[in-house]
Symmetry: C2
Subunit: 155 residues, 2 copies
């Protein structure tokens, strides 16, 4: 699962890869019984084209030919199906981004805004242990890491 998506997490030729990604997402939705419509594809394309976490408003702005309601409905559908996930910025603003399969921790650059993946880390085990010490049974967590990416640190 998510095999095709996983292959496109890097930054190669934008056009063809993006198109394939869109097809992939549309395919996943079709498999779930959701129809393949033009407005839906436009929304998905716009989501894929976003270079950083975006708001619903930004998405609407980039899709002048699609009704707001459709943008919101599509976005909700993508979140429900885990194809898009929510990202919480340091200023507490809630944004969205394409789900990076298998990655649940986001490294967010406060300068340029890019979102990177926090490679596998042992934080979860540590948290589970700390929770257990407090008498809790941990079932999940939400973690966002804020800082500056390599490019911005160099400046």
């Amino acid at each position: 699962m998510f095999a095709t998506l996983a292959k496109h997490s890097g930054h190669e030729h934008p056009r063809p890869r993006s198109a394939a990604l869109v097809d992939d997402i549309v395919g996943r939705l079709s498999a779930l019984g959701y129809r393949d419509t033009e407005p839906r594809r436009l929304v998905i394309s716009a989501v894929v084209a976003q270079g950083r976490p975006f708001t619903a408003e930004e998405l609407c702005a980039s899709l002048p030919c699609v009704g707001r309601a459709t943008v919101y409905r599509s976005l909700r559908l993508l979140v429900q199906t885990d194809l898009v996930c929510r990202v919480l910025l340091e200023d507490h603003e809630l944004r969205y981004q394409l789900t990076q399969p298998g990655r649940h921790h986001h490294l967010l650059c406060g300068i340029c805004g890019v979102s990177a993946d926090l490679g596998r880390c042992d934080a979860e085990d540590i948290l589970r242990e700390a929770a257990a010490a407090a008498g809790f049974r941990m079932t999940g967590h939400w973690l966002e890491v804020y800082g500056q990416c390599g490019d911005c640190v160099d400046d």
Copy 2:
């Protein structure tokens, strides 16, 4: 700092302690130049009385004699002064709770809703290292841990 607050994090006699906590918070606000008014005290009392993370709406509901605007303004003031902090629930709902001085990680029970403290844990160091490995310089993070508290697990 926060000495008085810290002493009341447990669950002892509710009434007198709560009153002292309210006085303490009002005192901190006074020290910052904010006046001691009845509506404000009522809001603070209501915040202190909440047994779990609450929404602004719930706070308004528990304060029928205080205008909504005042509730919202007071809540904003408490957040700005770090006396109240935001909590993100597993369902992505943003709520508020009295700040537990020195604790930035919340253990949230999905069954009864109580919020406990994740004792000191090494997660931050681990995260900082993992971020560095990805070329990031970590400056902060947001972490919420979800699960079931001891009481609920026993059931």
